[in-house]
Symmetry: C2
Subunit: 569 residues, 2 copies
């Protein structure tokens, strides 16, 4: 890092602050243009900052004079001045990109021209209340009325729900340049951080964003209840959208996932974005690292953008009282996997972004369990009643093992195995699914298993035991077969039905009626990755060894005849 | 976080800098006493810092005046002034602790008094060359001559190898307060970061430290070739040592692991320590987070100190040329899991700590593979010849599956399974270990397997097939049994030998001679955790489905007679 290039940033809020956090670690100087002591400047002590406004042309010029590259943490900047200085200093992303994106209507038109699906929109320039009513006829109600510029976190948006809302809408947004947008009846919202480098376009994972009162409240990575295929489609769409713009850096792409699983681009941010905060903990490189590297033409290995662990991000907003946000941070200190980021902002106005918390964990469900009390705290501060939740249910860990049996008559055979799973603290679920009597339910169960928390399946069955074999044919998870001794053939029928599967769909078969070994095999499989499980197994095996050694000692001591007598044999 | 308490830190080097990084995220103000623009001050812009020296009594007093809690990032401070200000301001850890620890001889005596094992030492106060020769007689050569104070990174230490070294040693260290220490013939060095809170003593994981030229070069977490039991013993010893001191905060405890597996405490640091840098990425809470929380009496959940992923830390030291260290950081940019920390220090004197790199990965072996090129670069800068390494070997991924067979006559049966593992890009190793002909080798292999990269074992054997069952008895890993059809009984003998294991040691048995299913079961087990593997399996299964559907289509098209003819039957 012989990098002596200086970066100038328009804006000194939390995004600039976290960008500087990344720059500090690489000893790269970042000069911030914003008010004195703004969030970003607090963690960067040098005399290259400019106290002023990123909307002021003269201030932008002053910043550019002493920098090698100018970038932004907000798009509501003076792009005309950026155009002027672009001759002397590199501006990333391009001022052209910023000019298009800062006008939401222009942004949508531009995306449409480049074949990127967006919601239909109508320009309302120069049109009054009658224009709005016209939109109501064309789009039907509800529709969105939006300010083309200076709109963020819901400010500048108005949902027009019926014709009577029209005058109220005009009243609220009347002095702004407006356009109307068709209502997107979405199932949920997704977002992807995209990195545009000199060599191409890379993406971070797809994120589910949850908004409340038009402000981002939570992000989930990976998204909940969204297939991998849709996640990838969102990444492709985000790539396509950003590929249409000039310049380097990270971009946030917010999308709607409609009820028919199609995607629309909602909005683009030409800078680091709230939906990318999770990358600080959850990915080897954060969105801030990526932005720096992209604008400096430094290497960005693609696998540096991968998800290390599922993550949930919760915004800490200013609340009802001046210390509402402090209480949330305070509560987060009790959570071992919660990373707390406070932005050093002054007064906590309601809704102001004061910080965020990221929880990462080996599974999204584990992260949800740890985050839930903090979400509850946020909701209770807002006076929201907690939803009807079954607290015992939400406390229960998700099953790692699914035990299925062809008939409840197999349950007594399973008992010692289930008891052992419980003893070794392995969460499991038990279901009845017969290959012959409920083939469709078995198919549904088996096909869904791999996308749940379950990592191993135990199938117990007797006779012409098809259960584990069919299950293995519909899943990629390891399936353990437990042959149950039924009425004939001493269980050898079940044993053969399980072991002698054709090439392609193995069943890990254990001894007849030996549910303990089926359970232990499941434990060993989980322990292949989870060292905690492996250790519990080791201790259990050691106990067995001690027990047998103890018996041997006693036998040696009392002799075989007394031993037999003590056994009552 | 309504925390308005101000923290004062004596010293503004990299430890102070990383402490401030943690404090910034909690919006806690840290005032640094050190030279202007020192490393720590660069990332903390406020007017509470003091330009001066942490050895200067008046400066310490000035710092203390405006703080609620005073702490240190270096122990070579004026403890008498700290004693004086301790009436007005909280000092953590206690000035008494700092006074004992900053004098290495006093530190050792104190530890000895508290029952903590340390190397034998002899005070040399007022003793000349004759005193040293006396030590040589008592301890034998080599022994260590050490300065009691101001000793760090090897400065102040001299290894006296023979009687002729004595005058040289006196010449080098003669003007310092000295003591001698018995040579510790250690196998390797371990370190543990300990957190002393108001409620008790917590520990981070045990680390292996590697020193070169008396300066820390690398840390490995967990340590290489050290059992879990020893790791825990080191944590216990570290706890005991720190339990003997007063005050709160993190402490670094460096230990020698002798060749007979006993532990000696070598040295204690009453502050964050180089051996704890890895915690920034590898643990939910870093040593810096822990230090802040400990001195502020904020919560520290024990599981926040756990290891998320194995980690290797490499120090970036000033080298032969002024930009040697920059080249290392530059090279690290290419490594997706490398987190780079540069300290913002000025001139790079040889050996000066300019930064560090941490690589975390799901296994230590994977972290080693990623770190090795950077270690090679460091070594090549020092003109060290690279050790005799087989480059193809080091490129080869570590095996995840171990395939063992009782006899090479089983190899042809294994062929399709091995080919499939290769096709699905699963690294594996194949060995011959007979339960009956090489029982000791099988035992050695099975006992060691769980501490290697291997996660699943496939055991193929025929006849009275004891191989997988014995292997399962000596390991906690999942063992797959592949019954091989030998000369008699059509393989049913092998099948029964494997499935009918006693309760306690399951063998996951697949069909007779069906090595493809043995391989696929191994793939499913790996895929339970590794979604990449699972996806490759899914695609392969889809291919199978397509193939059979294709055949069905052809059969429907040409009719069963023509189909049979085409099959040549």
């Amino acid at each position: 890092m012989a990098d002596k290039r200086k970066i100038g940033v328009l804006g000194g809020g939390q995004l600039g602050r976290m960008l500087i956090e990344a720059a500090n670690r690489l000893n790269i100087q970042v000069n911030v243009l914003d008010a004195a002591a703004s969030s970003a400047k607090q963690i960067s002590a040098h005399d290259g900052h400019i106290d002023g406004s990123f909307k002021d042309a003269a201030d932008v010029k002053r910043l550019a004079k002493d920098c090698d590259i100018v970038t932004v943490e907000i798009e509501h900047v003076d792009t005309h001045m950026l155009e002027e200085v672009a001759g002397e200093v590199q501006v990333e992303p391009s001022w052209k990109t910023l000019r298009i994106i800062k006008d939401k209507f222009a942004q949508k038109e531009y995306l449409k021209e480049h074949g990127v699906p967006v919601a239909d929109s109508i320009d309302l320039d120069g049109k009054g209340v009658e224009g709005l009513k016209e939109v109501g006829k064309q789009f039907a109600y509800p529709f969105m009325l939006k300010s083309k510029t200076e709109a963020y976190d819901g400010r500048g948006n108005f949902a027009v729900k019926c014709v009577d809302d029209v005058s109220k809408a005009k009243e609220v947004l009347g002095d702004r340049p407006l356009y109307a947008e068709r209502w997107a009846d979405f199932r949920l919202e997704l977002a992807v951080m995209v990195v545009k480098t000199k060599d191409g376009v890379l993406t971070f994972p797809t994120v589910e964003t949850v908004h409340e009162d038009s402000v981002c409240k939570l992000t989930y990575t990976p998204p909940r209840n969204v297939s991998k295929a849709i996640g990838e489609k969102a990444q492709e769409l985000a790539k396509k959208a950003i590929g249409a713009f000039e310049g380097k850096g990270v971009f946030g792409v917010e999308m709607f996932l409609l009820k028919d699983d199609t995607l629309l681009v909602n909005e683009i941010a030409p800078r680091p974005h709230n939906s990318g905060h999770y990358t600080i903990e959850a990915c080897p490189l954060s969105q801030y690292d990526a932005h720096l590297r992209a604008i400096l033409d430094l290497p960005i290995p693609q696998s540096g953008l991968r998800l290390r662990e599922p993550a949930i991000m919760l915004n800490i907003l200013g609340g009802q009282t001046p210390d509402s946000h402090e209480k949330i941070a305070q509560a987060a200190l009790e959570h071992p996997n919660a990373s707390i980021h406070l932005y050093g902002k002054g007064e906590a106005r309601p809704g102001r972004k004061m910080g965020h918390i990221t929880v990462t964990a080996p599974t999204l469900a584990a992260a949800e369990r740890e985050m839930q009390p903090l979400i509850d705290l946020v909701d209770s501060q807002k006076g929201k009643p907690l939803g009807p939740r079954d607290d015992t249910e939400s406390q229960k860990p998700e099953p790692l093992v699914a035990v299925i049996m062809g008939s409840d008559s197999d349950l007594p055979v399973l008992r010692p195995g289930l008891a052992l799973l419980e003893h070794l603290a392995i969460p499991f679920t038990v279901r009845i699914t017969s290959a012959h009597r409920t083939p469709d339910w078995l198919r549904t169960f088996s096909k869904a298993a791999a996308s749940t928390s379950v990592k191993v399946i135990i199938g117990a069955a007797g006779g012409a035991a098809h259960l584990p074999g069919m299950c293995a044919s519909w899943t990629t998870l390891p399936v353990i077969g437990l042959p149950v001794k039924a009425t004939h053939l001493d269980g050898v029928d079940s044993l053969y039905s399980m072991t002698q599967m054709p090439r392609g769909e193995p069943v890990a078969t254990v001894g007849i009626n030996n549910s303990v070994n089926a359970a232990l095999l499941a434990v060993r499989i989980l322990g292949a990755e989870d060292l905690g499980v492996r250790e519990r197994l080791r201790v259990w095996m050691e106990g067995n060894e001690t027990e047998v050694l103890g018996k041997d000692g006693k036998l040696a001591e009392v002799g075989w005849e007394a031993y037999l007598k003590a056994m009552g044999k």
